[in-house]
């Protein structure tokens, strides 16, 4: 207590700025009663000398003392902090800290010191930071006084502070500044008047003459005043302002805001104004008015709006119908049904849409009739048939089916499908055998969406008996239903059992279905049908194999490509083989290239060989590069081979930089295609710009756990970091994922997603054992293993900054394995790494190999 009194006394004696040396004197007053809850002289000196870039330890200690302090202690701390502000030697960084603290705990004793800073160009903002919300009447005086003394930006800052404080005493001075020749000062004064509000500020704004470019800001401030008035007991004044702005302003957004003010102030009495706004030719205002139709509550308002519907021009009717739909009040349904008979198409469309929201089962017939017509009205009516939510709609639709004509029946069946009315499946199976082809087709479409396993035998039987023209629809329905059955092998059973006894056309249909579904049992059946005695059946089977969803029929296709008696089948099978080879799979890339080699050897014609080269181009592997290279000289295939050569070279340029550069240089000399040469040149430049960042990586992932987020995944063990690591699948990272940043592995582009992790692995050959620096950047977290040992981890959310993490590691002589784990929280996902000497110099003699 003694110490605090002495500090207080000292404060009274301090009149003006005191030098830094005196600070210690002030704090010395406390010696002998050392109290850790108050800043020591050293701490205060430390604060005064604090510069950006230094440790904040001294600052943090005082900040913590402030948090712990009693009210009396706070005043003592405040006094010490004010001494820092008074000291001419205190740094800007120190003053910034002090003002942040005073903002949190300052009292009226701070006002004079802070007020003195208001006119200082560097410190004015810091002063306002602390001053603006201090609960002292002196603050208002200080700011108003500064207002007269300042100009330019500093004046604007003070105006903003006055506005934020809602200082009504400042209104006359601010009113004078509205007409300032400096536009920015004028704009700030206008905004401040709006914030302050009240009748005097409103009057000042009402009388203000502002240039056109400030009219929106003026209107905004005027609206702010009006918005505050009802709470201050001046609702009629507010209405006057809204009315003036609504009637006299040309800015649509301001008129909308004024209309909103009127609706809020007047409620149901605003109905006529809203109706008038609906009739304007400004669609944005119309739409806003419609919004307010929805906001005025009560059935009386519904009745008023619905009653006015037929008397409005058609454009306004359209908007109002939308608003009535949003009100969701079914009492408007009769008037809306009336509008659905309008001579104006746009009105009819809007009415059909509104019926979707507020209609009942009695609306079904009118909607179905309209939906059976044509054009946009039919689309709207059709969508509303789906949307109708009242009781009894679905049974009404089923009932109507019996007496509807063909067109209306089509619409009603579609509505049942859209409404997902599964109880209607038996009815739909019945109509799928109707005498009308249109009805049959629509029913099959509906069944494709709704039917389940139980309806499958009936559907397969329909397919077997279908007319040729309807086979497509029936096949589609069977495939759709089968795909919804989880057990891949069981789902084809009804199809397989029908295959045995079906006639030729039906067999062909069933084979196409099996081809779309895939699976082992299906494959066996289709493979044996490819050797059927009937030409049509063989044809369907070959086409089914060629379009298979995975590569499982590859061998069968190759056999057919070589030995099928029919040339067309040989070509189809070969093309199918090339197609399935290119589908996504886990097989190693060199095996894929070997499959392509088999294909090219089986091909007689250049067309299929070109297809093979197009496939090879997508394999990022050295064997693919060699493959493309071997066709560079072949005249008929040269263009495709060159394109593939470049594409593969770019993709493997990380792991095989030397081979890639050689390939790209070759293209520059042998290729006639200018664009391809330019791509090659770009690739060479990127490889050079990459410097010594590692570009040869294998990648494994993404890995995630259902319940874990990115920061937890860094410490979650996935297969690549397990000792055996056998489960992990690795693939080569295509280099140059971002040509502008060739040193970066862009995982977002390669994999994407969030809350997951991926692993990057490479091998580094060092000519000797050496201590080196691993420089890393990662977005987000990173964990690093070198030869199986964890050498670094940083569990962070951050963007990649090259070399942000620097880790000293030991490379052994010979090959070393480097493994990175990169986590992804969200946004970008990337990483980069390189080895440097411990002093940051470039290391010579390292070799990188991505291959396992």
């Amino acid at each position: 207590m003694v110490r605090q009194r002495m500090l207080g006394l000292l404060l009274l004696l301090v009149a003006a700025a005191i030098p830094l040396a005196a600070l210690s004197g002030a704090a010395n007053a406390g010696q002998g009663g050392q109290n850790e809850s108050l800043p020591s002289p050293d701490q205060i000196q430390g604060i005064a000398r604090y510069e950006f870039g230094q440790s904040r330890r001294a600052l943090s200690a005082v900040e913590e003392q402030i948090r712990q302090a009693t009210p009396a202690q706070l005043r003592a701390i405040e006094a010490s902090l004010l001494d820092v502000l008074r000291s001419p030697q205190a740094t800007y960084a120190a003053r910034k800290f002090v003002c942040r603290m005073l903002r949190r705990m300052g009292s009226c004793q701070s006002v004079p010191v802070l007020a003195d800073m208001l006119t200082d160009a560097k410190l004015s903002h810091l002063a306002r930071l602390a001053l603006q919300r201090l609960p002292c009447p002196e603050v208002g005086d200080a700011l108003r006084q500064a207002l007269g003394e300042l100009s330019g930006d500093l004046r604007i800052g003070v105006i903003a502070s006055i506005g934020d404080r809602g200082d009504r005493e400042a209104v006359p001075e601010l009113a004078g500044l509205v007409s300032s020749e400096q536009r920015a000062v004028s704009a700030a004064a206008i905004a401040a008047l709006g914030q302050i509000g009240g009748s005097e500020a409103a009057r000042a704004l009402a009388d203000a003459k502002v240039p056109d470019e400030l009219s929106a800001q003026w209107a905004d401030a005027y609206l702010c005043c009006a918005d505050q008035m009802p709470a201050e007991g001046m609702p009629s004044d507010a209405l006057t302002i809204y009315r003036r702005l609504f009637d006299q302003t040309r800015i649509t957004t301001v008129r909308i805001a004024a209309l909103r003010g009127m609706v809020r102030a007047e409620g149901q009495r605003a109905v006529p104004t809203v109706l008038a706004s609906l009739q304007t030719d400004n669609a944005e205002l119309q739409r806003a008015a419609a919004k307010f139709v929805a906001e005025i509550p009560g059935e009386r308002a519904t009745a008023a709006f619905a009653g006015a519907l037929s008397s409005l021009p058609s454009g306004a009717q359209v908007v109002l119908l939308g608003a009535l739909a949003e009100r969701g009040d079914r009492t408007a349904a009769p008037e809306i049904a009336g509008a659905a008979r309008s001579g104006d198409e746009a009105v009819r469309i809007a009415a059909f849409r509104a019926l979707g929201a507020v209609g009942t089962s009695s609306s079904v017939e009118a909607l179905a009739a309209a939906a059976a017509g044509g054009g946009r009205a039919a689309e709207a009516a059709s969508a509303s048939l789906t949307q109708l939510s009242a009781d009894g709609v679905d049974p009404t639709i089923v009932g109507l089916l019996r007496r509807a004509d063909e067109n209306a029946r089509r619409v009603l069946i579609r509505a049942l499908a859209e409404r997902a009315y599964v109880q209607g499946i038996p009815t739909l199976l019945e109509y799928a055998q109707d005498e009308s082809a249109v009805t049959r087709a629509e029913s099959l479409k509906a069944l494709a969406r709704l039917a389940d396993q139980r309806a499958l035998p009936a559907l397969v039987s329909l397919l077997v008996r279908a007319e040729d023209t309807e086979r497509g629809a029936a096949e589609h329905a069977v495939v759709a239903v089968c795909r919804r059955i989880e057990d891949g092998e069981r789902r084809v059973e009804p199809v397989l059992s029908a295959l045995a006894d079906a006639h030729v056309r039906a067999q062909c249909s069933l084979l196409r279905v099996l081809g779309a579904l895939g699976g082992q049992k299906a494959l066996e059946a289709v493979r044996s049908s490819a050797e059927d005695t009937n030409q049509e059946v063989r044809d369907a089977a070959v086409r089914a194999l060629a379009g298979w969803p995975d590569a499982s029929p590859a061998d069968a296709l190759m056999r057919l490509a070589r030995h099928a008696p029919d040339e067309i089948h040989r070509v189809l099978a070969l093309r199918g083989y090339v197609r399935v080879t290119g589908l996504l799979s886990d097989r190693p890339p060199e095996e894929t290239v070997a499959m392509y080699r088999t294909a090219v050897e089986a091909a007689d014609r250049p067309e299929e060989k070109k297809m093979v080269l197009a496939g090879v181009a997508r394999v990022p592997d050295l064997s693919a590069l060699r493959f493309a290279e071997s066709y560079l000289e072949e005249r008929a295939l040269r263009a495709e081979a060159q394109a593939a050569y470049v594409q593969v070279a770019l993709a493997i340029s990380g792991a095989h930089a030397v081979e890639a550069q050689k390939a790209l240089r070759t293209i520059q000399t042998v290729c006639d295609d200018e664009r391809l040469r330019e791509r090659a040149a770009e690739g060479i430049r990127a490889i050079e710009n990459r410097g010594d960042y590692i570009a040869g990586w294998l990648i494994s992932g993404p890995y995630s756990r259902d319940d874990r987020e990115a920061h937890e995944l860094l410490h979650t063990t996935f297969p690549p970091e397990a000792a055996e690591a056998k489960e992990a699948k690795w693939r080569l990272v295509p280099a140059l994922t971002d040509p502008a940043r060739p040193w970066l592995v862009d995982l977002e582009r390669l994999i994407g997603g969030r809350d997951r992790a991926a692993y990057l692995r490479t091998r580094v050959h060092s000519p000797r054992m050496q201590r080196v620096r691993l420089e890393l950047g990662s977005d987000d977290g990173v964990k690093v293993w070198l030869n199986g040992e964890v050498v670094h981890q940083n569990n962070v959310f951050r963007p990649t900054t090259p070399g942000e993490d620097k880790v000293a590691v030991v490379l052994k002589e010979g090959w070393n394995t480097l493994l990175l784990k990169i986590t992804q929280g969200g946004g970008q996902w990337s990483a980069c790494a390189r080895f440097r000497a411990l002093d940051g110099a470039r290391l010579e003699g390292l070799k990188i190999r991505a291959s396992p």
Binding site: F52, G53, S55, R56, R57, S60, A61, E63, I66, R67, Q68, Y92, K96, R100, R103, R104, M105, G106, K122, S124, H125, L126, L129, Q132, R133, L134, D153, L154, I156, G157, A160, A184, A188, A191, A192, A216, Q217, L223, D227, T252, T253, R260, N282, A283, E284, R287, A288, K291, S704, D707, R708, E709, H711, E712, D755, F797, R798, P799, G827, Q828
Partner: protein, 430 residues
């Protein structure tokens, strides 16, 4: 967008300007007329992106992928960001038409825009959002809504006054699992809830960072904008700003906009707030970053409910409601309950069904056309982040604060109340 389309944007259609332009000699290109995959220009929503760093570029890509959006402008105070964003847009449309701006006010002043996507550091949110709303633009704004409660209220007022559509980038609201969890809680499946826990990430720290030269192409003074002046260092700027209180509130405000929002959604407290807040934060003592690493605060609501918010060393990350008949826990990728049977509960036709959005960005675009409220509207975003901002204040002053959620005022503590707003560095003002 090609020059020829410019006469017939959606906006000019709506305000009737297109009708006035009839007769002017312009050619309607196929891009303007649209095709089977793409609606015509007059139906497309014309957008600009303000702030195109990591998050902003991601957001922009999300919108660019949609056929009913036409991006025409990007803005960033860092030239490398805006050049990259422009090239992404130009590549998408195979032209060079995207305009790149340094100053967001110039972008907002374009007459052809319908909407903007704002992905700026938090200290810029209010200035950009209020200006965009006043200009009659619809806004997709990144969370947290604002750096302070007063700024959040100013955004709400501007958006509501001018009838703008607002979507907050709190995409968990469009996640099926979160909606399901909230519907279960709302419909009483774990009984009356007395407590909810919200776990958020732990804050990072760094060392003292040396002052560095400002990189070429970065307008550092503009980047600082309304915040107090400070010299450049990379760890103060892109991405890392969120660990410095001049610009952000750290993990608490970065993630509070997600999990506190979900806690409120499940309890129907989205239009109110706590009445008492008390807690402690641990702040890094030495380095540049000064937002709390560990933190924990407790909020009391008027209905007796308690909400505890803490970092994930103290609470599981996500939201956990405690009811008289069980508990329910939700986070990204996980929904769990005690008893487990709660998870199989069916919500009946007459029970509370929460707003369903399956695609956060599409929900925004749909609402631009329908003028309906989005799944994460501005008022709700404000109330969600207010809890985090009140927690921040309570921890900074180190004492319990009382809050009037109706008037949005701290009661009986003027020093704490001073922290509800932030005086802007001149010449910036709202």
């Amino acid at each position: 967008m090609s020059a020829n389309d410019k006469g017939i944007t959606r906006r000019s259609f709506l305000t009737g300007a297109a009708a006035a332009a009839v007769g002017a000699p312009y050619v309607i290109t196929s891009a303007a007329l649209g095709n089977a995959m793409r609606p015509p220009a007059s139906d497309r929503i014309v957008m600009g992106a303000i702030g195109v760093g990591g998050m902003g570029t991601g957001n922009m890509r999300g919108f660019l992928a949609r056929s009913d959006v036409q991006f025409v402008a990007v803005c960033d105070v860092d030239k490398s960001h805006r050049d990259r964003a422009k090239s992404i847009v130009d590549q998408t449309y195979s032209n060079k038409d995207c305009e790149a701006y340094l100053d967001f006010r110039e972008l907002i002043a374009r007459a052809d825009l319908d909407a903007v996507c704002i992905s700026l550091p938090d200290h810029w949110h209010a200035l950009a959002a209020v200006a965009a709303a006043k200009s009659g633009l619809d806004i997709y704004g990144e969370k947290p809504l604002a750096r302070s409660i007063r700024e959040g209220r100013a955004i709400c007022e501007a958006v509501q006054r001018y009838g703008r559509v607002w979507q907050t980038g709190s995409q968990q609201r469009s996640g099926r699992q979160f909606r399901r969890a909230c519907e279960l809680v709302r419909n009483g499946r774990i009984g009356k809830v007395h407590k909810v826990e919200v776990g958020l990430p732990t804050g990072p720290s760094t060392g003292p960072e040396p002052v560095m030269p400002i990189p070429d192409g970065l307008d550092w003074d503009f980047w600082l904008g309304p915040a107090p002046w400070a010299p450049y260092t990379p760890k103060r700027c892109h991405w890392n700003w969120r660990w410095i209180m001049d610009y952000s509130g750290g993990q608490l405000t970065d993630w509070g906009g997600h999990h506190i929002d979900i806690a409120h959604w499940g309890l129907g407290l989205e239009h109110t707030g706590p009445v008492e807040i008390e807690g402690r934060g641990h702040y890094p003592e030495e380095g540049l970053w000064n937002t709390p690493t560990d933190y924990k605060f407790t909020c009391k609501y008027a209905n007796g409910l308690t909400m505890v918010v803490a970092n994930n060393r103290q609470l599981d990350q996500g939201t956990r409601w405690y009811g008289e008949n069980g508990r329910l826990y939700v986070r990204r990728g996980s929904l769990d309950a005690e008893p487990k049977s709660v998870l199989n509960e069916v919500i009946g036709p007459d029970e509370i069904k929460l707003y369903e959005s399956r695609d956060h960005k599409q929900n925004f675009l749909d609402c631009i056309k329908s003028r309906e409220l989005t799944v994460a509207p501005v008022e709700i975003a404000h109330r969600s982040i207010s809890v985090a901002l009140l927690g921040e204040i309570a921890m900074l002053v180190g004492r319990r604060i009382r809050w009037d959620p109706q008037k949005e005022e701290i009661v009986g503590d003027p020093s704490a109340a001073a922290l509800l707003g932030r005086p802007y560095r001149e010449p910036w003002h709202l």
